[in-house]
């Protein structure tokens, strides 16, 4: 059930918006007709394969690929030498396509081959002779911070590229880039009030150090891209990416092509979650430019798990003080985030989010981003936020327990509200933290004490909340009235999670016609108006505003035509269900079909309207989780009994889709909490580069999620819409680990809480009373 908290009165009744609508592309999806990245091919196409560094850290003295070039089927080979120095940025993974003088992680791309078949391309990789000088490496982030640790960066300078992180969060935070004499690449600090005084007035103080593992977005479609460099000098690409304009700009820059000569068609995307931006496209692009033939590259799952851009490992200290009445007095936090071999992790966001849900009068927060010889990290659905929430929310629950307060009441007393400030000093707009907590408090699961199981295994309950700032990028949409009175909406955003359906609903709502009379096309970068990266939960947030504006532009033109025919002024024209009429005289109408035809003969010409703009500001989205678990103390296996996901969506344009987001994000949170971890050995090699050992939740592992939509009006969104995609993944890890702690009666500090870690923690608690996990 959607729980409406606050909404202004609408002038006209809603027709399509706020209705659960099944996907407009549903039939294509279930018949195999939807074309994803790897599904595109061209006549004469070559296949590309990538040679990767076998060393975690090495100087590359020389690359000789003459033997590979002479191998059967091979057409061309590309290396770092194919990119000019002035476009390469050694500190930016997307702008350092191949390792240059140094390979900084095992699996870093060193060269690529294009050949007639994939087999030919892969066979030729073995013939490329790379003269490596292995260098000392460091894998563990804490060891990397030691003064004696091998230095990872080689004085290559360059500013830290935070472009991709900026897509996900519209909130500024001023991290400071550091020099490269050490492996701490950037740091950030936030402070408020007097920390010592804050802890001095606290009656209860709790603290802990929390580790979260490196995890992978694990979209089920591996990276794929097809590039075709044309004799005209045009570069055409078909790419599975969250942002086709970002791919275009990156390829244009790296290959020194004019932007208008690079045409990117974003294909249907088989999941991204922040991890699919522009890592792969430049490789088939340079191969195609050299070969003058189309080139396709598709990554294997093992390449995905070793050489993409997973979410960072972190070590977070949190200390919280509160008075006996539950008033928070102080927060101290320190984030150490492992960014892998390239800077640009969500460290500063994770640090700031420590103080994002509650009012702490006194705080000191510190964050450090640490380089290691591992794959560089990227964005994963609310980047850094699950790590932050895991630490803060567990400590909040410990404080509540010590105070003898209900954890929801404790949070409600301190929840952040409009006008309160985040650690970066930014005052908040009207946020839904209190309403999300209220929905948790009202939920039947929260109101029902947890019954003990028949088998005697301990059970526990945990809850947590979390938030995400979200993006608020500029966007545009174009709407055309077709000759038969139907409409086409043209957009440049990627249909990552059903946004196309929501955009169709917005257009149908504004144009006052049933959904089936609107089609939405995702045009390529040459055809479509600009659309931002599908990240930061921003597509529906910003595109709903642009689509509504485009609809109003179209309606304005239509009304002018209708007004002339009806003999009234445009202001007196009413409309709906495919016709326009003079106010008060609905029987004498002109159809949209006829308006379209008459417009052609009028000064207006064809009816076409574009809407563009940018939300006035972002507005953070809050979510909460209740988790009930049972733990088998013999095997360490956790069974989730109940899972409730609450989220403030502002105004749910499509409740079916919003619930799907809450369910999906919550279950990804189960992965964080219980299962997922990329494991490295001492040599920097990923030990589990497959989906058998990098274990995702299956249908048999998880319960249903009771998804509860809260709707607290957001004045900056279309009809009150807020960001939706990301917040749901933030609290589940904290809630589930907290529930396990509750069941076992010992504090736990790590994600994922695998059976092995649970058994170890129980053993440690039994032998010395000191929990270690």
């Amino acid at each position: 059930m959607a729980k409406v908290v606050e909404r202004p009165q609408e002038k006209t009744a809603l027709r399509i918006a706020n209705q659960p609508v099944s996907r407009v592309d549903g039939v294509e999806n279930v018949t195999g007709a939807t074309k994803f990245g790897a599904d595109f091919s061209l006549p004469g196409m070559l296949w590309g394969a990538i040679l990767r560094s076998p060393h975690a850290h090495a100087r590359i003295r020389n690359i000789d690929y003459s033997k590979a070039l002479a191998a059967p089927g091979v057409v061309t080979v590309a290396t770092a030498a194919d990119f000019d120095d002035d476009v390469v940025e050694p500190t930016s993974r997307p702008h350092n396509v191949f390792a240059g003088d140094f390979a900084l992680f095992l699996g870093e791309a060193v060269a690529a081959v294009a050949a007639v078949t994939q087999e030919d391309a892969e066979a030729a990789l073995d013939l490329i002779e790379v003269d490596y000088e292995p260098l000392p490496h460091v894998i563990d982030p804490l060891e990397s911070m030691d003064p004696g640790a091998p230095v990872i960066r080689h004085g290559d300078g360059g500013a830290i590229d935070r472009t991709e992180m900026s897509f996900h969060s519209s909130v500024a935070s001023s991290a400071e880039d550091l020099d490269e004499s050490g492996n701490v690449s950037s740091q950030v600090q936030f402070s408020r009030g007097d920390l010592e005084a804050g802890f001095a007035e606290a009656d209860v103080i709790k603290e802990g150090t929390f580790k979260a593992a490196m995890v992978h977005q694990a979209y089920l479609e591996p990276h794929a891209a097809l590039a075709h460099y044309m004799p005209s000098g045009e570069m055409r690409l078909w790419v599975t990416s969250q942002g086709q304009f970002y791919v275009r700009d990156t390829v244009a820059r790296l290959l020194k092509l004019p932007t208008h000569k690079v045409i990117v068609q974003g294909t249907a995307i088989g999941g991204g979650f922040g991890g699919k931006m522009t890592l792969l496209a430049p490789i088939p692009a340079i191969l195609s430019k050299k070969a003058r033939r189309p080139v396709k590259v598709v990554w294997s799952r093992s390449e995905e798990l070793t050489a993409a851009n997973p979410a960072p490992q972190s070590i977070i200290d949190v200390k919280i003080g509160a008075k006996q009445d539950g008033t928070l007095t102080a927060l101290q936090g320190r984030v150490i985030m492992d960014t892998g071999a390239y800077p640009g992790s969500p460290m500063s966001t994770a640090t700031m989010l420590l103080g994002s849900c509650y009012v702490f009068p006194n705080m000191e927060l510190e964050g450090m981003e640490v380089l290691t010889n591992k794959v560089s990290v990227g964005a994963y659905r609310a980047p850094g936020a699950p790590n932050s929430a895991h630490a803060v929310e567990n400590v909040m629950n410990w404080v509540a327990q010590e105070l003898g307060m209900d954890p929801v009441d404790f949070r409600l007393k301190n929840a952040i509200k409009e006008g309160d400030r985040w650690p970066n000093g930014q005052p908040l707009p009207d946020v839904g933290a209190t309403e999300v907590l209220g929905a948790i408090k009202d939920h039947p699961v929260w109101g029902t004490p947890l019954a003990q199981g028949a088998n005697g295994n301990p059970r526990g309950r945990g809850m947590a909340i979390g938030c995400w700032s979200g993006g608020a990028g500029g966007s545009a949409a174009t709407i055309k009235l077709e000759a038969d009175g139907t409409f086409r909406v043209l957009v440049g955003t990627i249909n990552l999670t059903g946004s196309t359906t929501s955009i169709a609903q917005v257009a149908a709502e504004e144009l006052r016609i049933p959904l089936e009379f609107v089609s939405v096309s995702q045009g390529d970068t040459n055809e479509a108006p600009y659309g931002p990266v599908a990240g930061g939960s921003q597509v529906t947030y910003t595109m709903s505003l642009s689509t509504a504006k485009a609809a109003h532009a179209v309606l304005g033109q239509m009304k002018a035509v209708a007004a002339q025919r009806l003999g009234v002024t445009a202001d007196d024209v009413e409309f709906g269900d495919g016709k326009m009429w003079a106010n008060g005289d609905p029987d004498r109408y002109i159809t949209y079909r006829r308006i379209s035809n008459e417009a052609m003969g009028s000064e207006n010409g064809p009816i076409i309207g574009t809407g563009h703009g940018k939300p006035e500001r972002g507005n953070p989205g809050f979510a909460g989780t209740i988790a009930d678990v049972e733990v088998d103390t013999e095997t360490g296996l956790v069974t989730i009994l109940n899972l409730v996901g609450v989220q403030d969506a502002g105004f749910a344009i499509n409740p079916l889709s919003v619930k799907g987001q809450i369910q999906g994000g919550t279950i990804q949170g189960v992965g964080y909490a219980l299962l997922e971890e990329i494991v490295y050995d001492d040599e920097g090699r990923v030990r589990n580069p497959g989906l058998l050992d990098y274990r995702l939740p299956t249908a048999a592992d998880v319960p249903n999620v009771d998804a509860v939509i809260v709707e607290k009006h957001n004045p900056y969104g279309w009809k009150g819409t807020r960001i939706v995609g990301e917040p749901s993944i933030v609290p589940p890890g904290a809630a589930i680990t907290s529930a396990i702690s509750d069941a076992l009666g010992i504090p736990l500090h790590d994600m994922p809480m695998t059976p092995e870690r649970i058994v170890m923690a129980l053993r440690a608690a039994r032998t010395n009373g000191e929990p270690t996990a």
Partner: protein, 175 residues
């Protein structure tokens, strides 16, 4: 050494001379242009490449094409009739069981075969039955809901290419 191969795919006869290492998935996708079956892992862990071989759901990424000699192969493209989606496909659309859609072909093939053989599973049996197919977007709930609606016989079959409708008739007479 090349092998002669003969099989049917979605009811159509296929005759080829192929190299022995060619996977069934490659034959379907690269040779026959049936890109519905997806390669999510290539190691049989995700189920996105699932097709029916003589009615039995199999990973086409782990099956050599020559193993399908003489077999009747059905891919996701062959599940619907010309007019209607099958019950599992229809239920997926209605329940919102596809988000990104990459796992959907494997899921609907697997679930169609599973429910054919197990028409009245418990929720636990159903979840175990589809546990070999991974989905990263939905958290499985809408998929399970869709399949329960098939089990309960509550699915209205969806038209493949619905007839266009007219919104507003032209008014009679001149304006």
């Amino acid at each position: 050494m090349d092998y002669p191969l003969q099989l049917t795919v979605n009811g159509v006869g296929v005759k080829r001379i192929i190299e022995p290492q060619v996977r069934l998935l490659d034959l379907l996708r690269e040779d026959l242009g049936l890109t519905g079956a997806k390669e999510g892992c290539g190691t049989g862990d995700c189920g996105a490449c699932t097709v029916l071989i003589d009615g039995s759901p199999q990973h086409s990424c782990l099956t050599l094409a020559v193993e399908a000699e003489g077999a009747a192969v059905t891919t996701v493209e062959g599940l619907a009739s010309d007019e209607k989606l099958n019950a599992v496909q229809s239920a997926f659309v209605a329940a919102g069981a596809t988000q990104c859609g990459i796992c959907t072909p494997g899921f609907v093939v697997m679930a169609s075969a599973y429910l054919r053989d197990n028409p009245t599973p418990t929720d636990h049996e159903l979840r175990m039955g589809i546990a070999g197919n991974l989905c990263r977007c939905t958290g499985y709930e809408t998929i399970v809901t869709a399949l329960h609606s098939v089990i309960d016989g509550k699915v209205e079959l969806i038209d493949v290419a619905p007839e266009p409708q007219e919104l507003a008739p032209e008014p009679e007479g001149e304006l």
